[in-house]
């Protein structure tokens, strides 16, 4: 008998915490998203579904821009992370854990401070651009900040380790004997990579895509610090609606649309790749 209740007693405090502060808030957000009113006179539940239509209509650009930035950033992290993960997994030898630590080093600096440092680095009169302007290599009004490049660059920078790690784990699991067998059968290096190593490492890439695309698309810190008015992402809008305009119904409706779009995206992605692949990747 004791054995039977034990797991429930152990799971109860943490489970209740997750239930009360992760699941229940979603119900409240759903309720807020169909309310009407303002912060002075209070909000009333009127099941005003038009909030969703209005939110989508007004901020379609920002939704599409966020998806675009998320896709571009994810593609860039794959290009940057794959060779690095490959090198660490197959060539770093005894220094593997040192290199992994180096990849994780940025995480020891606060996310906001990292992004602010890029702002220092890329400033119009900063240490990178000013010397180039002084010697005439760049026009005086050249700038990187407040551009799409800066925002996507910042996103790529901040989420790169989330792509390196899952790809590394997948590559690490590749049995060297399989590669050896391919080479014994006269496969070229290129063929043994393209037909053996790459397919075996794809679950890692899939996991990395999930771990980078979702937070990148919902990010607002990079757009707010490195971007300009033309780079506003949907996260900036939601943050402003909640914390500046106090228009909670609009913010809640936008959050729901974002969440729904992401869930649909994740399911479509899982379907396209085969559920097993994604589940296996997610299980890590």
């Amino acid at each position: 008998m004791r054995q039977k209740i034990a797991p429930y007693l152990l799971i109860l405090p943490g489970g209740l915490w997750l239930l009360c502060f992760l699941v229940v808030p979603l119900v409240f957000m759903a309720s807020v998203s169909t309310q009407e009113g303002d912060v002075v006179n209070g909000f009333v539940q009127t099941f005003h579904l038009a909030n969703f239509g209005n939110a989508l209509g007004e901020y379609k650009t920002q939704f599409l821009r966020s998806a675009g930035y998320g896709l571009a950033g994810t593609a860039l992290t794959i290009l940057l992370a794959y060779p690095v993960a490959y090198w660490i997994a197959f060539k770093a030898g005894a220094r593997k854990s040192t290199y992994l630590l180096l990849v994780l080093l940025p995480f020891f600096v606060s996310f906001v401070l990292r992004t602010v440092s890029w702002k220092f680095l890329l400033a119009d009169d900063g240490i990178l651009l000013q010397p180039l302007k002084d010697v005439g290599l760049l026009p005086a009004d050249f700038h990187v900040l407040q551009t799409t490049v800066a925002v996507i660059g910042g996103l790529t920078y901040n989420y790169l380790p989330f792509m390196v790690l899952p790809i590394y784990v997948a590559l690490e699991r590749v049995d060297p004997r399989v590669v050896e067998a391919a080479q014994d059968l006269y496969a070229t290096r290129r063929d043994s990579f393209l037909r053996i190593v790459l397919p075996l490492s794809l679950p890692g890439v899939f996991a990395g895509v999930l771990m980078t695309f979702v937070p990148m698309t919902a990010d607002y810190v990079n757009a707010s610090i490195l971007g300009g008015p033309a780079n506003t992402m949907i996260g900036n809008i939601i943050q402003t609606e909640y914390l500046v305009n106090n228009d909670y119904p609009a913010g809640a409706a936008l959050s729901f649309i974002l969440m729904a779009a992401m869930l649909i995206g994740i399911f479509a992605y899982a379907k396209a790749l085969g559920t097993e692949n994604v589940l296996e990747a997610a299980a890590r």
């Binding site: 054995q3 943490g14 690095v84 606060s110 440092s117 698309t217 607002y220 810190v221």
Partner: protein, 283 residues
């Protein structure tokens, strides 16, 4: 050291005869890969180097972006902004408190999930997966919706509560991995020798899962002290270190922030290195 060397050796030893005829080309490719890796690493370090360097910048203006000369003076003036000091102490005390609660809750969950098969395990895993993978923005927005609807004043307490929420699953997963790897016969032996369940847990089980608990706690602390998005939604009038920096961006971030960031960075790196070295020694 030798432990991590040996698995790499056979692979290379095997590859050597196969690759022997095309050795020059393979080396060239490896060198390219090595260079690429270091370019990416340098890119990763660039803003960290800038952060550290500009803590020593003898800047005169509010915007600390151009190099004006080397100085130690900001180290003596760390306390120039009282609200920055408050923000840093808030960040540290919130992280300690959240870590304490998270570690207890997460460890219990990890033991339950790693040790027992029970009804409701599937949904628990699903909710934990959701907590790990859902965007912070949505978690923050829904928490604020909850607090507004119930008329709860956001502040210090709600920040701690939110930090426990987003880190508890990480601790549970870390501890579960450790529990799954346990040898059950050791506990059986303790019980056979007459130890009670309580004694068995504290003297046998807990010491064995302790490394998992410690790394879970370190992770929870790191997640908490670094968090920005959920904190911004649940902070009310309370300010933490990341929130202070974000607020200062428009008017100019003072060198004190760089120094504090450097100190936190240094502590983190030292702990990580100790952790790597001791775990290497253990295996």
């Amino acid at each position: 050291m030798s432990g991590s060397l040996s698995p790499a050796l056979p692979a290379e030893a095997r590859q050597a005869p196969v690759g022997a005829p095309r050795r020059p080309r393979a080396r060239w490719g490896d060198r390219l890969l090595y260079g690429y890796t270091w370019l990416v690493l340098l890119w990763l370090f660039a803003p960290i180097a800038v952060m550290i360097a500009f803590g020593f910048n003898d800047t005169k203006s509010k915007s600390n972006v151009s190099w004006q000369g080397f100085t130690f003076k900001w180290w003596g003036r760390l306390g120039d902004y009282p609200d920055l000091t408050t923000a840093v102490t808030n960040s540290i005390s919130i992280a300690l408190l959240a870590t304490l609660v998270t570690t207890v809750l997460g460890t219990l969950m990890g033991i339950a999930l790693g040790r027992y098969r029970f009804r409701g395990q599937g949904p628990t895993n699903l909710v934990m997966f959701a907590a790990i993978s859902s965007p912070e923005l949505v978690m923050g927005a829904s928490l604020l919706s909850l607090f507004i609807s119930l008329g709860v004043q956001t502040g210090y307490t709600t920040i701690v509560l939110a930090h426990v929420l987003f880190s508890v699953s990480f601790v549970a997963v870390t501890v579960r991995a450790r529990v799954v790897g346990l040898d059950a016969s050791v506990e059986e032996a303790a019980r056979d020798l007459g130890a009670s369940t309580w004694i068995t847990f504290w003297r046998v089980t807990f010491p064995m899962i302790l490394p998992g608990v410690v790394s879970g706690a370190l992770l929870a602390f790191a997640l908490s002290i670094d968090d920005f998005v959920i904190t911004q939604f649940t902070s009310g009038a309370t300010i933490t270190f990341p929130l202070w920096i974000y607020g200062a961006v428009r008017i100019g971030v003072p060198p004190q922030v760089n120094i504090l960031g450097t100190l936190i960075f240094a502590v983190g790196v030292v702990i990580a290195v100790i952790n790597t070295v001791t775990s290497r020694r253990r295996t």
